[in-house]
Amino acid sequence: MKKLSRDKLLQALTIGKKRARRETFRKHTTPSERAKLARRKIRNKSRHGNVDAPAKLDIYSAKNHAIFVSFLDNYRRTVKNNKKTFISFRNSTRITAAAALLLVAETDRLVTAYPNAVIRCSFPPATTEGKYRNYQNIVESVLNQIGFFKLIDQECVSHTKHHSVEIWRQLSGSTADGSLAASLLDSLPEEITKASRQKLYRGAIEAIANSVEHAYPSPRNDGIGTMDSRWWMLVGYDATYLTVIICDLGVGIPSTLPKKHPESFLSLIRTRFSIFDNSDAELIRASTHVKETRSHLSTSTKLPNRGKGGADFRNIAKAFPTATLIVRSNKGAFFLTGEAAKPLKKSSSRRYVDGTNRTESTLNHSNSIRGTLTEWIVPVQDI
């Protein structure tokens, strides 16, 4: 008889032990008891939900947007319906700032709504990059840096810190407290001038105030049924770009705009700025024109002096000529680039706004992010 290797021997022993255990179990239980135990096992198993995170945690490309947003929907549903949720990041090799903030905000909201839910995850794989094919784990670094593992109370054993995410900071609040926004901007390196910080602060405080004042008139329509009126902010800085993102998980601009302003006023914006449909993207674009339309009207009508924030968002693109502003809300996205910036890439779903020399464009996605993300991307050379 052929001598078994050590591995084969161990395998045969394990099989034997399992078989013996099964026979003992059968001997000591009746068929009805076994059926009852099997049913319990299935029930327990169904209380453990698994969610596979996409390979690219990203909402910049339309394809990745659809996949990532449907992952978030699945994640929310799984946490709602199960005691334990396991997120598998085994395929995730890329992450972008906006998607990272959205994931953290959703997780923060879920752990607040379901304090007894247990969320665990596998760690994303390391990938090789660059000339020397060095191993890097950028997804894990980002999630660790912006507090995802801390939120789900899972220790991140690896201490890899990718150099490009070292100056990524995230926080949240429930009131428009300028000191919170400033604390993140203060974490930026000293070479960023005070004037630049003030311009970023101006946009940030307006975006946060808009979230607090307008984003949460009613519970979010996502089946969670909780009222969590917070905003989240992320500041990211690397060798190439400075990114500032404000996020809320409210009902979205396309839902609040028609409720906050009379139809006659919105019609005027539509006429003045050639907005021909009621898609989410066009309603976001309309919201950025509220101030100038209001100023235009103030000589003839008495309107409340609200709605200045949209102009502050637009001013960032004036203050930093190569910057890009992106406002995403529900299914829509509005893009505004500074005059010296390269026009954004053409795609089948992107529509450039006439008369803006391709500095403004809109895009409608198939899935809703169920909230609003306001993002400024400023090239470091422009600061």
Binding site: A182, E206, A209, E213, L303, N305
Partner: protein, 110 residues
């Protein structure tokens, strides 16, 4: 001479209304600007905007444009702009002037 340093009110000027967040334009107007206007002649009030983290337009509109809505007449409100100091960003002074003018125009059309 009455000298108002916004940084003494807050280093982090906030949103329009106090119900939205702390250090709002509404609070600045009610606790600093209006009491100062009641106790000193307008020509003697100097407001220094420098040193803060920055200003959202809602803060500025509510603080200064809001003076008109609280009954301060247009000329008096505009005189404040003559004694504003903003060395860090001089465009703020023009912006405040626009808010005061817009608020006055709105009030005229009631």
């Amino acid at each position: 001479m009455k000298y108002i340093n916004v940084i003494d009110f807050s280093e982090f000027p906030g949103p329009r209304y106090e119900r939205i967040g702390p250090n709002s334009g509404e609070k600045f107007r009610e606790t600093i600007l209006l009491p100062a206007l009641r106790t000193a002649p307008i020509e003697e009030i100097t407001i220094n905007l420098d040193g803060t983290a920055g200003y959202g337009s809602s803060f500025l509109e509510e603080a200064f444009g809001g003076l008109i809505r609280r009954g301060i007449d247009h000329d008096t409100a505009l005189k404040i702009c003559n004694n504003l100091i903003s060395k860090e960003d001089d465009s703020l002074i023009e912006e405040i002037r626009i808010y005061i003018n817009e608020a006055a125009e709105s009030a005229k059309n009631v």
